[in-house]
Amino acid sequence: MNNQQQHQKTMERVQQGLDRRYRKERHFRWLGLGAIILGLLFVSFLFITIISNGYTAFQQTYVKLDVFYDPEMIAPIGETDPEVLSRANYGGLIKASMRQMFPEVTNRREKKVLYGLISTGASYELRNAVMSNPALIGSKAEVWVVADDDVDMLIKGHIDLRLPESDRRIKDNQLGWIHLLQEQDRIEKRFNTTFFTAGDSREPELSGIKGAIAGSFFTLLICLTIAFPVGVAAAVYLEEFAPKNRWTDLIEVNINNLAAVPSIVFGLLGLAVFINFFGLPRSVPLVGGLVLALMTLPTIIIASRAALKSVPPSIREAALGIGASPMQTITHHVLPLALPGMLTGTIIGMAQALGETAPLLMIGMVAFIVDVPGSVMDPSAVLPVQIYLWADSPERAFVERTSAAIMVLLAFLISMNLLAVWLRKKFERRW
């Protein structure tokens, strides 16, 4: 009886608390779900910001001009000497065409503003056209030329017209001219090829990422040719040959610690060793690649060791059993089986290296470089550094270009990671 009562009491107590406990359970669960949703929100918010800021950069505003290839300003008809043709005053042709369109503009200062609607790069377009076809001289043609970045921003709706005139980059008289041009269908947005074919420039409308992409390519090339063989060799040694002693323990601890050293410290190492001690030039992909190779080495070693570990010992025993030497066992049997895992790790390491900025700032890869690099010894920027440089520029047009460059960088990174996932899925073996 007493026991029964006791029992009931316990059950009652449990029942009483149950509601509260279930409520707590639900709250805890929601908290967890909330954390994940918050994380997902951050991802989507980040991507939405970047894409909404950047997608317009893939288009560029062009203006149609009626250009008269005036023989007086270029060269007499029939002249083909490239020396003469390249030195002619093509800017003058554009100015003449603008004057003709807006004859009412006579004031010197206003004229200057008017010419500013067209990018300074437009004269190079005309020069290239004439130099590839000298027969143009003396003829009239309709030419689409790149508009200035301020015009571009206006057309894309990035300039707030409610602001007072003094706060705007586009003044009221310019607005009037642009409306006139628009009414004559002389303004058009086209795909922005410059962005993919040009190097850096101070003028947003003339700047592109080709130089940065080439620089990134050369840097990664150096990084890969050093980090992959050395990383795989180190992993093979540590996993397959190394005796278990203090020395190999030290190496192991070392690799784990190197993986967590701040990347900027690797930059200082590069500055002190490669540039100051070995006297290699600054800003070149060779040094960048070396620094990034040292940085990605731990990642590759750790991934390669995991891949080697996953090859079952029976493979090794079988090979040794039929008389293969240890080295033959590794090179003929273990390595081919571990290679997909090693490649996956290497691709992930390369993706890391591609997005790395801080160590490259230390070795001078932040210089303003217009030319597209042609080798590992040419000064160059890399894609993330280009993003950093553009993010620092005050022009509104660089904001969208920065975002667009980020989109390109992320596209590269995502495809590299997908490649790694695909490799893992395709070659993954369960023993």
């Binding site: 707590k24 784990n256 967590a260 050293v261 900027i264 690797f266 500055l271 591609l354 900025t357 980020i406």
Partner: protein, 460 residues
């Protein structure tokens, strides 16, 4: 570019050597492989190694000493008054000579002697390149021929080749050690020079940081005070904010993923969260500077607070977002390492899931989680791009997250980007900061890895 041609030529020679070495070994035994000590391919490899490796070593030595030797000869031939210049002036002259010989822009006016020196320099360089070509190729050919000649049927080619490969493997694995030594030495060396000018105590305990050193003694606005406390305080403030964001979100999402989420939800949500880990930090920096900082500033103005546009809050929050996947994947690992038997025991006693998690799993996993958080802290301290783009530049000893503070990494970048002279305290200060940064992150990592390892052993 001629070096790469030479390397390609050498690689070509090596494959030729492989072919001839292999053929030679077969012809020695008349095609009966079983009479050879090793497989024919090993004789080929051995020949190729002899052909390539000495020449490649020679090549790298030559390239590293070429410049010094040629410059030395050019200095010898310079007129006496140029030779007797102080070393740094002489360096300038030599730089001009080099640029002149490449056809680049030179700083001083070009006169007769300069032009002569430049011509001398480029002719010497040409001679050196030609000599390298001839010497390297003949070394390769001679060594290859010699190796081919010495092939006998008893020669232990496999053992030799394997020994060479083993040497390569061993030296690769020691590169990690050399990298660490390189980091320590390079940072330590410059820091020592810094501490010769600025006392250690001033650096470690000084409350004011203003690294502008005077070029002229009477210059205004250049105090040159190197007290690093404000920098470390700023770093800690931003790290703290980052942790306040990252630890709860990362931990809770790891718990949900491990204990509640269904398989389909996990396969969908986990990779998306991991995207955060793959985004380059420069992108986060841009995001922080362009979106988050103005957002906080406007929000602050709306509720009547003055928030700096480079507030520690914005940088810290964005850094926290960056670290979420780091915390969550490390916690995920340790939570999954808690044995199922402990969960089953708790469920058997009637505990709800959240009670099991709170009272059993988290206490059991705590050391691992702490280790993970320490690793995350060390990452936040060393993180550079976010703070360079979103945090302030001027040292400000403040605990207010709405103000602008600066961090150690920001100062390293600002001190070292641009032109540097390696004897000014300003440049060397960056190395001293890096030394402290390296020591702190190293200690944190050591502790964290030790805790995680101890914890793993406990349940294995």
């Amino acid at each position: 570019m001629h070096t790469s041609t030479l390397i390609i030529l050498l690689l070509g020679l090596m494959s030729l050597a492989y072919y001839f070495g292999r053929k030679r070994s077969l012809s020695i035994v008349g095609g009966k492989i079983r009479d050879l000590h090793s497989l024919p391919s090993y004789y080929g490899l051995q020949t190729a190694m002899w052909c390539g490796i000495p020449a490649l070593i020679l090549l790298s030595l030559w390239i590293s000493f070429e410049e010094t030797v040629v410059t030395g000869i050019v200095v010898e031939s310079l007129p006496q008054e140029l030779q007797s210049l102080p070393p740094e002036r002489l360096d300038l002259v030599l730089n001009d000579v080099r640029n002149l010989s490449k056809g680049d822009i030179v700083s001083s006016t070009v006169d007769q002697t300069m032009q002569q020196a430049a011509d001398h320099y480029s002719s010497l360089m040409d001679i050196s390149h030609m000599a390298l070509f001839v010497v390297a190729l003949s070394v390769a050919i001679l060594a290859g021929l010699w190796a081919r000649r010495t092939i006998t049927r008893e020669q232990r080619a496999r053992n030799r080749v394997e020994k060479a490969i083993n040497f390569f493997l061993l030296s690769s694995s020691t590169l990690a050690i050399f990298t660490t030594i390189g980091i320590v030495l390079s940072v330590l060396f410059e820091s020592m020079r810094f501490f010769q000018q600025i006392p250690v105590t001033e650096f470690l305990f000084g409350l004011e940081w203003s690294p502008q050193t005077a070029i002229r003694p009477d210059q205004v606005g250049s105090s040159g005070v190197f007290g690093s406390v404000p920098l470390f305080a700023g770093t800690m403030l931003i790290t703290l904010i980052a942790m306040i964001v990252a630890v709860p979100i990362g931990l809770m999402s790891a718990i949900y993923m491990a204990e509640y989420a269904g398989k389909r939800f996990r396969t969908l949500a986990k990779p998306v969260l991991e995207v955060l880990a793959g985004i380059p930090t420069v992108v986060y920096g841009f995001f922080a500077a362009l979106t988050v900082a103005p957002f906080f500033r406007d929000m602050g103005t709306n509720i009547g607070l003055t928030v700096s546009s480079e507030s520690a809050l914005a940088a810290g929050v964005v850094m926290g977002i960056m670290i979420i996947p780091f915390v969550s994947s490390l916690s995920d690992d340790v939570i999954n390492a808690v044995p199922q038997a402990m969960r089953d025991g708790a469920y058997g006693l009637g505990a709800t899931r959240s009670e099991t998690i709170r009272n059993v799993i988290i206490p059991a996993a705590l050391p691992g989680i702490v280790g993970g958080v320490l690793l995350a802290v060390s990452r936040a301290i060393g993180e550079t791009m976010i703070v360079v783009m979103a945090a302030g530049l001027s040292a400000n000893l403040s605990a207010n997250p709405l103000e602008a503070v600066t961090t150690v990494t920001v100062q390293i970048v600002t001190l070292l980007v641009g032109d540097q002279e390696f004897d000014s305290a300003k440049t060397l200060a960056a190395f001293a900061l890096a030394l402290v940064l390296f020591v702190i992150t190293l200690a944190l990592n050591m502790i964290a890895l030790h805790i995680v390892r101890k914890y793993r052993e406990q349940y294995e």
